[in-house]
């Protein structure tokens, strides 16, 4: 147990706004979705997904929440369903999207505005 002298460092006990922490609970919740995305390290699997997305998702037994998030290409929803960004990036790659496209979607910014915000970070002190 945490005491006054020793803050609780457990990942599941920290709330950082806008920052999903990939805890054991998330890893458990998102296992199927992340397993499917991990399979996309192989070109044949990426092609199989594009040929028959529904069948490919069924093969990995995505939960309804995960399947819906993938169908809507909604990254924040995938993360809520336990997706981890390193694996999800492989799904995004199938559609030719990179982490800046994914960042823009999650922040609700147009891509150019998301990139400009990154450039502007250089001026902060």
């Amino acid at each position: 147990m945490a005491t006054a002298h020793q803050p609780d460092l457990r990942a599941s006990h920290r709330n950082i706004p806008g920052t999903p922490v990939f805890t054991g609970a998330a890893a458990q919740r998102g296992y199927q979705l992340n397993a499917m995305c991990y399979s996309f390290n192989t070109a044949e699997n990426r092609a199989a997904f594009l040929t028959d997305e529904e069948g490919y998702c069924r093969k990995f037994a995505l939960t309804p929440e995960q399947r819906d998030a993938v169908a809507r290409r909604d990254v924040l929803a995938m993360i809520r369903a336990g997706g981890n960004i390193y694996y999800l990036a492989k799904l995004a790659g199938i559609f030719g999207l990179n982490v800046q496209d994914v960042g823009a979607q999650q922040t609700g910014l147009p891509l150019e505005a998301f990139k400009q915000r990154l450039l502007d970070s250089a001026g902060e002190d």
Partner: protein, 284 residues
């Protein structure tokens, strides 16, 4: 005994590998980052290392969530890069040094680090991009590598304090390695960046610069944070700073900063490069 000559710390953003493949080093977007390597190249040419001990993290190429080691040490004769799913050109094999790997493993377990050992291990961009940056030109890097992968993906992550202690034990292993190996440690990743959530694109320049200032003289200050403190300050993936802290631990206390570079942004990342040399090199 082997000589530990220095430590190279650098970001490992996949897009850097893409820029190398396209020859964009002098492009205005990329130049401020790549130009930071000129002093690194001069130093490596003079230091002539033949071995690298690489602290990095895997991003879902070798390790999946079915088995996620906190600390994994490669013990292979060669390491293979592979398709990560989003189009980065696959790089050629890199030589390992199994004898040194097992010496590191034995030293670590002796120090009560219960590591995972890997006789087969795919290595991703976090391993190959820093080697491409250190030895550009597309050839095989002129070094044997011992990879040490730290879990920065699935929480709970190892604490910064534990990573620093791991690095110190690795440094002891290197310095007690019989023979004439000339070793450099690498710490890859960071600095501040966050890929996921509503805070995606988060960068914290003030925090990063503080880390660069502390890394040489006071790594214990960095190790007093928790891993989640780093996530909060540097972003979800900024926690790759753990790899830097571990590599810094290996270097010991008697070091000198050779060069540093900091540039915002590369892709979603505040990119940084830093090089230290040890007294072993000055005496050589």
């Amino acid at each position: 005994m082997a000589q530990l000559l220095g430590g190279l710390f650098t970001s490992h953003v996949p897009a850097i590998g893409g820029a190398i493949a396209k020859g964009l080093q002098q492009d205005p977007y990329w130049r401020p980052f790549f130009d930071g390597f000129a002093p690194v190249h001069r130093w490596l040419a003079a230091a002539r290392p033949d071995t690298v001990v690489m602290f990095y993290n895997d991003h879902g190429l070798n390790f999946f969530l079915d088995k996620m080691p906190t600390f994994a040490v490669g013990a292979a004769a060669a390491y293979r890069n592979a398709d990560e799913g989003w189009g980065l050109p696959v790089q050629g094999n890199v030589d390992g040094d199994p004898a040194l790997s097992w010496h590191v493993i034995e030293t670590l377990v002796d120090h009560e680090f219960d590591v995972t050992t890997c006789q087969e291990m795919l290595v991703d961009h976090a391993f190959v991009v820093p080697l491409q940056l250190a030895w550009p030109g597309g050839g095989k890097p002129p070094v044997k590598v011992v990879p040490i992968a730290i879990n920065t993906v699935q929480h709970p992550l190892p604490s910064p304090k534990r990573c620093l202690a791991l690095g110190r034990a690795v440094g002891e292993a290197i310095r007690s390695w019989p023979g004439n190996a000339r070793v450099v440690v690498f710490g890859t990743g960071g600095l501040s960046h966050q890929l996921e959530g509503e805070r995606a694109g988060f960068i914290n320049k003030a925090y990063d610069l503080g880390c660069l200032d502390a890394l040489g003289p006071d790594p214990d200050a960095l190790a007093r944070q928790s891993a989640l403190d780093i996530v909060e300050q540097a972003g979800s993936q900024g926690v790759e700073l753990l790899n830097w802290i571990a590599a810094r631990g290996a270097l010991g206390d008697d070091i000198r900063e050779v060069t540093r570079n900091y540039h915002i942004p590369i892709s979603n990342t505040a990119a940084a490069t830093m090089l230290f040399e040890t007294r072993a090199l000055a005496l050589a």
